[in-house]
Amino acid sequence: MTCSEFLKELTDYLDDAMDPQTKAELEDHLQWCHNCYVVCNTTKMTIEIYRESHLYELPDDLRTKLRTAIVGKCKSHDDPEHA
């Protein structure tokens, strides 16, 4: 397996969405190719760091404000005369 072939399969490998034979070939490549090992490892860290980053959390006060506005608009939609 070449590095480009490895790279093409990287997403399926990280998602564990591949047949056992291809997975074994990829893991064999990782045993001896340091660059692919690093790319694989740091890509995995990239995904994990974004997943755990809590980027763009919705603060409680804004959450309440938005929910009140949404419910109000839904009520107006159902009963436009009381909007």
Partner: protein
């Protein structure tokens, strides 16, 4: 090497009951659905629009549109996937308004494979969490994902941050499964490349730029 385990959150079994009640006009049932997914919609909207005010508007408009169109929800997909589809469209519309000079679509940015070829192959050490404070880290992550084309960051956020499956992401974005996979790979590699500038192992330095 261990693989990434998807963050799968199965919808509560009462979800369809809530959807049916909301369809029949029960606003409190719909409010429960809002409470369940407002954080996710806000996060997706902010990732796509990169603007706080727009994200707030998207949350309101997406839920209102969902409520108005509930009768058209055929229940062939999960309610959440259907809602995400509405929210993504609203977010892209706002992004286009802010950037009228540029065409913004999920189909743009189809370039050669070269844009994702790894150049930076230094491992990350120490762990980024040890290298930067929580605030610094958020700033780096926000700045980095902002630089990705909208089509890439949308796929990345749905798949890797929100934990939708490839099929659900394809459904929500109206893309084919190979198109989702190709964008996801390139988004992951481009983010990795950009983050490596901050997180790569620096021998002999203090670790910071």
């Amino acid at each position: 090497m261990a693989t990434i385990q998807p963050k799968v959150e199965e919808p509560a079994s009462d979800e369809l009951t809530l959807v049916h009640a909301a369809k029949a006009g029960d606003i409190s049932a719909f409010e429960q659905l809002v409470k369940r997914y407002d954080r996710n919609v806000f996060r997706i909207a902010q990732h796509i629009t990169q603007n706080r005010e727009d994200a707030e508007d998207v949350v309101q408009d997406a839920f209102l549109k969902a409520y108005q169109n509930l009768k058209n929800f055929q229940e062939q997909s999960k309610f959440y996937t259907w809602l995400v589809r509405i929210a993504v469209n609203e977010a892209l519309m706002r992004l286009r308004r802010r950037r009228p000079e540029r065409m913004v679509s999920l189909d743009e940015d189809i370039k050669t494979e070269e844009d994702s070829m790894p150049r930076e192959v230094a491992d990350w050490s120490p762990n980024p969490e040890q290298l930067y404070s929580q605030g610094e880290l958020k700033e780096i992550l926000g700045k980095t994902i902002q630089g990705l084309p909208p089509g890439f960051r949308t796929v990345f956020v749905l798949r890797d941050v929100e934990g939708l499956s490839t099929e659900e992401t394809a459904d929500a974005l109206d893309l084919s499964i190979p198109a989702v996979k190709s964008r996801l790979l390139r988004a992951r590699l481009q983010l990795r490349e950009r983050l490596s500038k901050y997180f790569k192992n620096r021998v002999g330095g203090d670790g910071k730029q």
